[in-house]
Symmetry: C2
């Protein structure tokens, strides 16, 4: 398996991201059948124009109250409240939220790699963005390509971020291992493998979080099932979650 | 970045795992300076003899009570209770626990890829195991090598497992990004990157969970800091954790 970073120019709202990815992929000999393109949610959202000028945001009373507690600008907190489906925790410097079935810091509203006084939101509909990107890449490359839109996520009791797939297109994001046998012919205890999340983490090893301008990567020669319509979702409802009801 | 699976013969208690890894690495031209060897905790524990015959375990009353609730064999639950530092949740088929600062299913006690009627525990001291393995690989390969002992972990609201580093040796497992600047010269919001966990996930894309006999991988050409003594740990105390106090 190989992961190759793609250097892109600075992305601006309205940019044609698929063309820029195809052009960047020329550096690695172009995209090939079965390649998975992992793209940071940040550049997808930026190209889609999901960039907000903070000075134009009118914070509510609630945003001001929470801002005092979290130590973030009230305008930023206002955006977070608008974007979040649920607030899980308010802590100095960060608000832990649920959004579209994902646990995420600040509802994905982020000032890093955003122009000064601006904040970037998550893509409005990441699944749609992933599918649009996939179709454009397939048409440009003339090969079947998988797409993962990735974000950075912190997990319980761990220091540091890993990659997580906020949406995928063209690949089965979870491998169903039920029925597979272990070394001794017994059915496996591990029933599903979160390959899309593993792809997002592998890609982040060659992508930059800072000013490196490597917001995408190609993962190739990996056993992955290309599909038109995935059967599984990497997201599960709180009710089905192993952690449900656990107070950490 | 490249991740290459290593096919190993069936590991038995007492086996010389470093020699077997070095031999398997011949298939990929041997280990090179800067390579990171990711090994499943399962084979490390097996070679160390951390294998228990279930029929020899006498379950306590508490184990029997929990076994009735979780639907697992009382002998297995007894081992889980002995291995766990804390029980977080009892659910049909799985007990969520804390062990050595990690959240893990069944305290790492696992029957998959174990001979029938046996269970494999986690390595007794994964950090020591990783360091021993590192020194043996360095001495065999004549090159500086990093080691990650990996396990499969499920994260909140996600379906499927990803890789997690339960111990590392010879690498800085977390990259401190504080002070780094983003595209626009502003300090980064993401302060740490959990590269050891990312390496574990990347490796799992080429490793098998089932009977594939690929319980290790070499990750090479990745920007990683080789160190004798890491400064950071990927584990944090519940008090410092972003999820602390959050009921999921």
């Amino acid at each position: 398996m190989e992961a190759l970073g793609l250097s892109l120019p600075l992305i601006e709202p309205g940019d044609d991201l698929p063309s820029m990815i195809l052009k960047a992929a020329d550096q690695i000999g172009g995209l090939r059948e079965g390649d998975v393109v992992v793209v940071s949610s940040k550049v997808v959202a930026t190209a889609e124009g999901r960039v907000k000028e903070l000075s134009k945001i009118r914070p509510s009373l609630r945003a001001k109250r929470i801002a005092a507690k979290s130590g973030q600008p009230p305008e930023l907190v206002e955006l977070i409240l608008r974007e979040a489906d649920r607030i899980l925790k308010i802590r100095r410097g960060v608000i832990l939220t649920m959004k579209r079935g994902l646990i995420c810091a600040n509802a994905g509203v982020d000032q890093s790699n955003a122009p000064k006084s601006k904040a970037i939101l998550l893509p409005r509909n990441p699944e749609k963005s992933a599918e649009r990107l996939r179709l454009a890449l397939i048409s440009g490359a003339g090969a079947r390509i998988g797409v993962v839109i990735s974000d950075s996520v912190v997990h319980p009791l761990r220091l540091g971020t890993v990659g997580q797939a906020i949406a995928t297109a063209g690949i089965e994001p979870v491998i169903d291992c039920r029925g597979k046998l272990d070394l001794y012919g017994k059915p496996l205890k591990i029933t599903y493998r979160a390959v899309a999340d593993q792809l997002a983490s592998a890609a982040q090893l060659v992508m930059g979080e800072a000013g490196e301008r490597v917001p995408a990567a190609v993962v190739r020669e990996v056993e992955i099932e290309l599909v038109e319509r995935p059967k599984l979702s990497p997201k599960i409802s709180p009710r089905r979650c192993l952690y449900s009801g656990v107070k950490l």
